[in-house]
């Protein structure tokens, strides 16, 4: 198939449709409304469901219902809208329902602004809702990768019976890049025999997250914890860039900032400062081991984010105190430039401001 030039938001929508994500419920919010708008056209063509719901609170609960009835269901929103879903996401995780949630992050906190940001890292990765649960979090850095990760997101959601968050930023959503839709193959999934589809020929199914007996509730908690351990074992994804050498500095960055870092690395190479990048593709599970390993080859690490410092904590957790871990961040819609990253690296190299 020839490549076509597509806006990130639309490409995500198309990829989801092709992956069988045929039920979409959403509520408009910049910078991702094109997803809904695209699907308003597209879903009727493929016999899917597009429905605008009254609020993000409701959207997430509609997902719960539809997922519980066995559908491949998804939504998309941006930061404040995602915050409104927190209760329901916690329910979805607790009831072990599969769904995909795309967060095209904008600046916060509060109403903030509509420019790109990575300020929702903690919310996505540590679980912004109540209780012990985790979402699998995928962070594409290009339109093509967003397209490629959507089928994976649906597959893993079904496989783990767990919400999967695809986290982008306004840049990924708004940017056009050439994309190709290739069909991905996954091992067969178990039947959704737990879904509430009418109890003909079987015992009634119940979708539930209430366990008044602490023994039962603890069982659920430990079961979920075990599932997240499974994810940590099997789902870690990352990209290494110019790391096959001794490094002055290992950059860690995801999404848009990772691309910025690549340019910075090229420039640093020009200046004879060997630098590498570890780009987490899964934010949860976090590529701890890979970072730890690479960290041993670098004099220090620098986490580059569009935030005031979130992922850096996970980098520090990965590295311990074995190597210094620094942070460079811009916020509020400001995107770090490659020059800034170059400068930051040089500053720390010189024993800079820390």
């Amino acid at each position: 198939m020839a490549k076509i030039l597509m806006k990130g938001n639309e490409a995500i929508a198309e990829s989801a449709v092709r992956a069988g994500g045929l039920l979409y419920f959403g509520y408009p919010i910049t910078p991702q409304s094109e997803i809904a708008e695209y699907l308003a056209h597209r879903m009727p063509e493929v016999g899917g469901v597009f429905l605008q719901i009254e609020s993000e609170v409701a959207v997430a609960n509609v997902l719960y219902g539809a997922a519980g009835a066995g559908a491949r269901v998804w939504t998309s929103s941006s930061s404040p809208g995602i915050s409104l879903m927190m209760e329901a996401v916690s329910y979805i995780a607790a009831a072990e329902l599969p769904c995909v949630i795309v967060n095209i992050v904008r600046c916060g906190p509060g109403l903030g602004g509509i420019l790109p940001s990575q300020g929702d890292y903690f919310q996505a990765v540590k679980g912004g809702g109540h209780g012990d649960y985790r979402c699998l979090v995928l962070a594409p850095c290009s339109v093509q990768e967003a397209v490629d990760l959507m089928p994976l997101a649906f597959d893993r959601a079904d496989r783990y019976r767990n919400p999967v968050i695809v986290i982008g930023d306004g840049m990924i959503g708004q940017m056009m890049e050439p994309v190709e839709f290739t069909e991905q193959q996954f091992p067969p999934l178990p039947p959704k025999d737990w879904a509430t589809t009418g109890c003909q020929g079987r015992k009634p199914n119940v979708i539930n997250s209430l366990y008044l007996d602490p023994v039962e509730e603890e069982k659920l908690n430990f079961k979920l914890a075990a599932k997240y351990e499974q994810m940590k074992k099997n789902e870690v994804r990352y990209e290494k860039f110019r790391t096959d050498r001794e490094l002055e500095c290992l950059l860690v960055a995801y999404g848009t900032t990772a691309r910025v870092c690549k340019t910075a690395i090229q420039r640093l190479d020009d200046e004879g400062i060997p630098t590498g990048l570890l780009r987490p593709i899964t934010l949860f599970p976090f590529p701890e081991e890979a970072i730890y390993e690479l960290s041993q080859r670098a004099r220090f690490l620098l986490s580059v984010e569009m935030s005031t410092g979130q992922m850096v904590e996970d980098v520090r957790l990965a590295v311990g105190r074995s190597k210094p871990v620094y942070f460079y961040g811009r916020a509020g819609g400001m995107v770090p430039s490659p020059e800034e990253v170059v400068d930051a690296v040089k500053r720390y190299l010189a024993g800079g401001d820390r």
Binding site: M171, M175, M176, R259, V335
Partner: protein, 184 residues
């Protein structure tokens, strides 16, 4: 090689489309491309702009602090973007609406009376295509034929607009070619 071009103007002047056409052409020529709109607060009423990147290698950062080239269709755009251009880049300036020049001697400036040319060709709305044509003419970044092919595809649904837009690209291209000599 990587060339970054900012297309900027009033909302409604069609800078987003002009940029997109260039990006499509780049892609079809097998290049790496990115088209990145600004979708900030300036969206409503104010200025609009997009960046097109065309490169031989995969494009790392889509955020361009210093684009090589600019195609500016109104004065605020010139004031905002030309100062940030890389030395040696090109600035295509819509002289129909801009009566100043970028205050730099290290970039190559081409003035194009895009609105006049477009009005003459049939509609002032196609001034963006004049600018695009001129840009292609000056820089040779892509073959003008490819641009014309893309225009045909782009306006498929509104076929009667195709001739006008092609004419505008061609006239802009000619202006660009002519200028290429002196501006280099």
């Amino acid at each position: 090689m990587q060339i970054e071009t900012v297309f900027a103007g009033f909302g409604g002047q069609g800078v987003m489309l002009a940029g997109r056409v260039l990006a499509e052409v780049g892609m079809k020529l097998g290049k790496e491309v990115v088209w990145l709109p600004s979708y900030g607060p300036e969206m409503r009423g104010g200025t609009a702009n997009c960046v097109v990147i065309i490169a031989d290698e995969p494009i790392a950062s889509p955020i361009i602090a210093h684009p090589r080239d600019t195609v500016v269709m109104n004065r605020p755009s010139l004031e905002k973007f030309c100062p940030a251009q890389k030395p040696g880049g090109y600035a295509i300036v819509n002289s129909s609406l801009i009566n100043i020049r970028p205050d730099r001697d290290d970039i190559r400036v081409v003035e194009v009376p895009a609105n006049e040319v477009a009005i003459e060709a049939g509609s002032g709305k196609a001034a963006n295509m004049v600018m695009l044509g001129a840009y292609v003419g000056v820089t040779g970044i892509v073959p003008v034929e490819a641009v014309i092919e893309q225009i045909k595809e782009e306006f498929q649904a509104k076929a009667k607009l195709i001739p006008l837009n092609i004419t505008c690209v061609e006239r802009g291209y000619d202006i660009g070619r002519a200028a290429a000599g002196y501006c280099v």
